[in-house]
Structure formats: structure tokens, C-alpha cells
Amino acid sequence: MMRTIEVFLVILIITAAFIISSFFAVLPQPRQVSPLNLRRLALTTLQTLDGNYDLSGTAFKSPNDPAWGGLQIALSACLPPNMVYNLTVYEVLSGGTQLYTSIHSISNAESLGVSSDASSYLVASSNVTFSVVPEKIGERGGGGTLYILNCSDANGWWITGYTAHSLAEDLYNLLSPYFKTTIMIQNTTQLAKILNGTSIQGETLRNATVINTVGEAVPIPSGYYASLGVGYDGSSYARYCHTLGQRVRQYNWTWVSIVGYPLYYVSNTGLFSNEQNTWGIYGMKHVGPAGLNAFLRGLDNQAYSYNTNWITGEPGVVYLSPEALYYCNYYGIYPSPYQTSTRALPDSILTTYHLPQSSVTYIFNKVGNWIPGAVYRHIAAGDNKITGSFFALGLTRTPDIRLTGLGLLCAFKPRLYRSEYTATGTSRLVVLQLGQVGGV
């Protein structure tokens, strides 16, 4: 009898425990079991509405502007019919304890149903201009002068479709913000002056960058630099290219060849008024491959010798290197990522002329043994400091000077200082809250 009573007591206790525990064990509502991700839906809706900056434009308009009506229609049209919303725009404040203040709100219902979630999105006014201040090349480590050869008394070759003057002007616009001083070398007399080590207007001559805008030709000053033993060896002006190489090493310049076979002709309309480059361009004298060979020997402080060996190759279509692609985005310069190279330099020059692999900046990926475009730095044997650099773009005509700009920026890597984004009155916060109507 007692045992039966005990058993019934146990059953009573267990049943009571079940009822009590069931009371506290509340199962989730069916809608919560498999919910829509309303937060993500709200965010993607805001991004869609701002796809062409329409939302950004509307957020800065007065509450009476008809654009708000358009926004409400668009919002209603793009959300599923069972969705209710509330979109509120806040002004972003600064300096006080209050961070945001409500500007305007649109909604299609008084309440947001049984479940809701929200996302926020920051929009910027179209009136805002963001300034970017570049670091000047030369602020760290000296130098910082850019010489652009814009010699009126020299003709160009393989710059088809452009003039040296137009290229020089474009280069000036593109690169002058990055250099402490930019000087247009207007004629070969001024070129002779800097080759002599004399500044044009008090600029720093050492560690400068010299861009040759006349393509495969190079301006040659008359007089001393065209004289026997300096610019002329009795039969060829390859001697001048050797002297140029020596000057590049002496002043630690970066010499830039923008297209084709570097230093293939020398040009001076006064000196060669009756000479032509074998293609009918007067004021220009053919030098051939000997020019580049002599230049590299001069750069490496080797004695002059007349060497007519053709050293470039034709790898064909070539692609920007990963480093160059990265800096395309950093500096906002977007040339075509693939180009045609017909005058790529061989990698054998790296060892022959002491241009160590580790200090080369590749603008284009190597193709086999060919280097379509790179900045080479000369470091003499047994030395550890750079004594002259050479930037050669061995592409076919016509030149794209954006590649020249990109290559130099890749080599020097000046930093960009961008302005602050959240300036007062320039940003507004848009909050979209979504809810679902219907049963649980």
C-alpha cells in the first residue's frame, strides 16, 4: 500500500516537473526558425538605390524635394510586397555629445510588424571634393628634379601621332605634382648646360630624372658634345651616347626612354640640317644599336667601343607586372594592362653592365629572357650605392606616356596623403529598417 502511494507520489512529482519545465521551455516562433536576413536585405537595397549615386543625391535634398517621392516609389518597387520599411536620413554631427540628428524619414506603415532589422549606409554629398596631396620625390634622400626634354631644335622618331612638345606637356601635367621641381629643357643649348653640371634655375641637378620625349632619337647639343672624342668618334655619334651614359652615372640621373630602341638616332635640326635618318626625317642622324651599347658602357664606366650588335627582342604581347598593376590603382593611372613589345632588352645586360636583378623595378612581366619595360639601377662592382638609373620601355610605337608616368612612380613610390572623409556637413547616415507583415 505504502509503495503504491510512493509510486503515485513519484508520478505526481515527475508530471509536475514536466509541466513546470515545459512552461519555461518556450519554443521559438515559426518565423524565427527560418528567417529572411533582413539586415542584409536592407543593406543591399540601399546599395542598389545608390548604384548611380541617386540615393546620395536625394539624401542631401530638402524634405520637400520631389526626389524623395521618387525614392519612396523605388523603395516600394524593389522590396517584396509583404515588407514594411522605414528609411531615415541623419545628419552626421561633430564636436558635440550628439552624433546624429534626424533630417527626414519615409515609411510605408505605422509599425514594423512582428520582426524587423535595420542596416545603415553612409552617403557623401556630391559637392564634396576630396583632395590628394602627393609626397614630392626628393623630399626624402635629395634630388627631386624632373627634366623633360622639350628641345625645339630636335626632331622625334617613333612618336607617331604626337609631337615631342605635346608629349612633354602631358608628362608635365602628369608628373610635376610628384617632383619638387620640374623643368622643361627647351633646346639643346639648355641640355648641354645640364650635361655640364650647371643648373637652369637653381634646381638640384644631382639625382634628377631626365625624360627623353623624342622617342628613339636623342637630342644632341652642337659644339662640345658633338665634337670628336666627346660626341663623335670619327664615324658615328654613338660616342655621344657613351658620354650621356657617363653623365647619368656621374650625376646619378634616371634616364628615361619612352618607346622603341633607345638612342637609335641623334637629333639636332641645326647640326644635321642636311642629314636625314635614312627614313627621310632631316635634322637627324642614324646611330643604330651602337648608341644603346655605348650608353650602357658609359653608365657602367667602361671604355667606349663601337658595337653595332642588335640586342633587343620581340616578345610580342606583354603584361603589366603585379607591382605596376598595384600602383595603377594607387596613383589612379590606368593604361591598357597589355601592350606590344618589339624592343625588349635582354636580361644579359643585368650582369654585363652591373644592373643587379634585385634592384630592378619591373613594369612589365619578363617574357623568357626579354625585359619589355623596367627601371634598371646601376650599382658598380664592389659598391652598394646606386650610380645612375635607366628606364627603358621597349614597346612599339606609338608611346603611351601614362606608362612612363606609371613606371617612374613605381620606381620612386611617392606617397599620397588623402583628405579626411568625414568632414562636417558632407556625410549623411541613411538607416533602412525592414519588417515583415503577416502572421507569426
Binding site: I11, F18, P28, Q32, P35, Q47, T48
Partner: protein, 397 residues
């Protein structure tokens, strides 16, 4: 005995509650997985980045446009997904079967199975093979309905723009009206005239009064009408054609995505309606939507040609001049009175084609869904993923 009965009663009561709770948890977990998987597809361009513009099989699955961030999808990656709704088309002259996203007569998108990504491949790349099944639907948010209300003198075309059950009032509508001229004489290529214009919708989302084209004074005049509607960041596309040769027509097949090559085929090589058959001459052009929401024509090299049905009559090919999404418009001529025009989107967004990719949802035990708003070349779409477990009732977490 009574004690054992009490214990069994106890276990039975609690077991039911615990089973239900566990099931709720597992379904909740499936919903989370669905949301994550959808983001994984939409926020990742795949490997290689430009697989949509090539013929290669990707080694990583993703649909994001590699040139953008956030929820912007590649019009070309989506074009390479094998449609799970359209009836596949077999073309005997290439010996290939084509994935079919055809939106009514004259609006074709046919991609060879050899270049399209199938569901098992995508499932393997996503790591869901054998564990989850899914169906991805990418559908345009805006519907631009176009219909002919008067066939001639003048031709009247009505345009209505709606969202998801809500009219798009005061929307800007830019349109392109292409009329075909078949009167060039025996064996000539069809000529065409393109007219562009802009209008707006009223409070009901309709262009009122309907657009009128006085130059159409004959109901035998073939034409194509393409309209883009735009309001507050939302953009949609609609199209309509009228043809006089609806059995013998041109079918464009995508041949090579990397080379942007499209084959031009005679319809009788796909659907033979019986004799008599005739040679078709065609004239192709390409239009794209510019940033100011107007349409611009881009010429195509070797844009004219002739194709016929049967052995000994090879197909022709044209090369799309750009990777910017646009519409390939092919006018064709059978005779001086019979001809027409067909359209093919280059990138699904240019004609707001929907895409359904994956397995069938019917009969699944529990299907979790999630949605995102996405942009495909500025056209507003909604991406919806349906996900279910392939491991039966025991949903894995």
C-alpha cells in the same frame, strides 16, 4: 512495474519536446547556412577573376563582378550558368547542345554546354556537393512591359513599368526603335533605321499617351523596340519585336566567349517546319547602354551575310566588338515582304534576362530561402537562394 511505466511516461513527454527543439535548431542552422552561401556566391568573383569572359572552367565559384565591390554581379559569369528551366537546344551543325534562356520569340541566349557551368561543378566548387542542394534565381526587379496597341498609321506602342507589385511612376524611359527595310531587291541584305528617344511614365507607371511612330504605315513593317526605365537608382529593361517571317528566322548561338564570337544559324537547322525553305540574308548591329541612360550603336565587322538550311550550307559568325554588355540586333530578310529581327543579350543584364540555376526545389523536406538586392551592370536584380539538406531529416549544422 508501475515505476517503470512512470519512467517511460516521463521520457516520452520530454523526448517529444527535445526532438522538436532540436529540429527547430537545425532548420535555423540551415537558414544561416543559406544566408552565408548566398553571400559567398555574390561577394566573390571566383577563380580566375574573369572566368565569365573566358571559356575556362573556374576553379572557384563566384558571381561578383571583378571590377566592383559589394553586391554587383558579372553579367558574363551569369551568362555561363547552365539554365535549369529552359529546354536545351541541339544544333546539328556544331554537334553541340546549348543551354537555353529564351524569353519568347526572337529573344535568344544560347550558350553551349561545353562552355556553360553546370550545377554539379558549381556545387563541388562551393563545397556543398552531397551535403546541400540549392537553386539560385536571379530575376530583374523592374518589369518593363511593352505591347502594340495600334499596328499602323501610326504604330502605337504602350510601355508600362512596374516593380514588385508596385508601379514605377515618373520613371525616365529611354528607348531604341529599329525598323527593318526589306525592299532592297532580290538577294539584298535587310537595311534598318534606328531612332532613339526619351519619355516618362505617369502615376500608374505607364507611358501615356502611348508612343506613336508615324513612319510605320504598314502592319508588315518589322521592328524591334527596346526600352530602359530608370528611377532613383532602379533600372529595368523591356523589349518587343514584330516579324513577318516567324518560321524561318535567324538564331544566334554563342560560340566562343573569349573571342566574343556568335554563330548565325538558320532556324530550320533547329526547328524544321517543312518546305519550302529559303535562304535568309541578315544584317547585324550592336547597341549598348551609355552612362547617361541612352543607347548607342556600335558597328560590327562583317555584319552582313546569308545563311541557309541543311548540309552544305554552313553557318556564319559575327564578333561582338566589346565586352561591355549590350544587345546584338540581327535583322533578317527572307523575301521582299517577309523578314524580321531577333535580339540576343551580350551579358544577361542588357535585356534583363532572368537566370535559374541549380536543382529542383519541388519535394524537398525543408527549404530555407534568402534574398539580396544586386546590381548587374546597373540593372536592378533580386538574387534568391533556396537551400535544403541532402542528408535527410537529420539536417546537419
Amino acid at each position: 512495474m508501475v515505476f517503470l511505466g512512470a519512467i517511460l511516461l516521463f521520457m516520452g513527454l520530454f523526448n517529444q519536446t527535445i526532438q522538436t527543439a532540436i529540429l527547430y535548431q537545425r532548420h535555423r542552422s540551415l537558414a544561416t547556412k543559406c544566408s552565408d552561401l548566398l553571400d559567398n556566391m555574390l561577394l566573390n568573383p571566383g577563380v580566375p577573376l574573369d572566368w565569365g569572359k573566358s571559356n575556362c572552367t573556374p576553379t572557384g565559384f563566384g558571381l561578383q563582378d571583378p571590377e566592383f565591390t559589394q553586391y554587383r554581379l558579372s553579367s558574363f559569369s551569369l551568362m555561363r550558368l547552365r539554365s535549369s528551366t529552359g529546354e536545351p537546344v541541339y544544333y546539328s551543325k556544331t554537334g553541340l547542345t546549348y543551354s537555353n534562356i529564351t524569353m519568347g520569340f526572337g529573344n535568344f541566349l544560347l550558350v553551349p554546354y561545353t562552355k556553360a557551368i553546370d550545377y554539379p561543378t558549381a556545387s563541388s566548387l562551393l563545397g556543398t556537393n552531397g551535403t546541400y542542394g540549392f537553386q539560385l534565381t536571379i530575376a530583374p526587379i523592374i518589369t518593363v512591359s511593352i505591347s502594340e496597341t495600334q499596328p499602323k498609321n501610326p504604330l502605337k506602342i504602350s510601355v508600362t513599368v512596374t516593380g514588385q507589385g508596385f508601379p514605377l511612376s515618373n520613371a525616365l524611359v529611354s528607348y531604341c526603335f529599329l525598323t527593318v527595310s526589306l525592299t532592297g531587291g532580290e538577294g539584298s541584305y535587310p537595311a534598318y533605321t534606328i531612332k532613339y528617344g526619351n519619355t516618362t511614365t505617369d502615376e500608374k507607371g505607364s507611358v501615356s499617351p502611348p508612343l506613336e511612330f508615324a513612319e510605320v504605315n504598314d502592319d508588315k513593317v518589322c521592328y524591334a523596340f527596346i526600352a530602359y526605365a530608370h528611377l532613383s537608382g532602379l533600372m529595368g529593361v523591356g523589349y518587343h519585336e514584330r516579324v513577318t517571317s516567324s518560321k524561318q528566322y535567324i538564331i544566334p548561338f554563342i560560340d566562343d566567349l573569349a573571342m566574343r564570337r556568335v554563330l548565325i544559324a538558320h532556324s530550320y537547322d533547329v526547328h524544321d517546319f517543312g518546305p519550302p525553305n529559303a535562304e535568309l540574308s541578315y544584317n547585324a548591329t550592336f547597341v549598348l547602354l551609355t552612362e547617361d541612360f541612352t543607347l548607342r550603336e556600335m558597328p560590327i565587322e562583317n555584319s552582313t551575310g546569308k545563311v541557309n538550311y541543311g548540309v552544305g550550307n554552313p553557318y556564319d559568325a559575327v564578333t561582338i566588338p566589346t565586352y561591355n554588355p549590350g544587345i546584338l540586333i540581327i535583322t533578317y530578310r527572307k523575301s521582299a515582304v517577309e523578314g524580321g529581327v531577333v535580339l540576343m543579350p551580350w551579358g544577361i543584364s542588357s535585356m534583363a534576362f532572368p537566370v535559374t540555376f541549380g536543382d529542383e526545389t519541388l519535394g524537398r523536406e525543408w527549404v530555407a530561402t534568402d534574398i539580396r538586392q544586386v546590381l548587374i551592370n546597373n540593372i536592378a536584380y533580386q538574387a534568391k537562394l533556396a537551400l535544403w539538406s541532402l542528408q535527410g531529416y537529420q539536417v546537419i549544422g
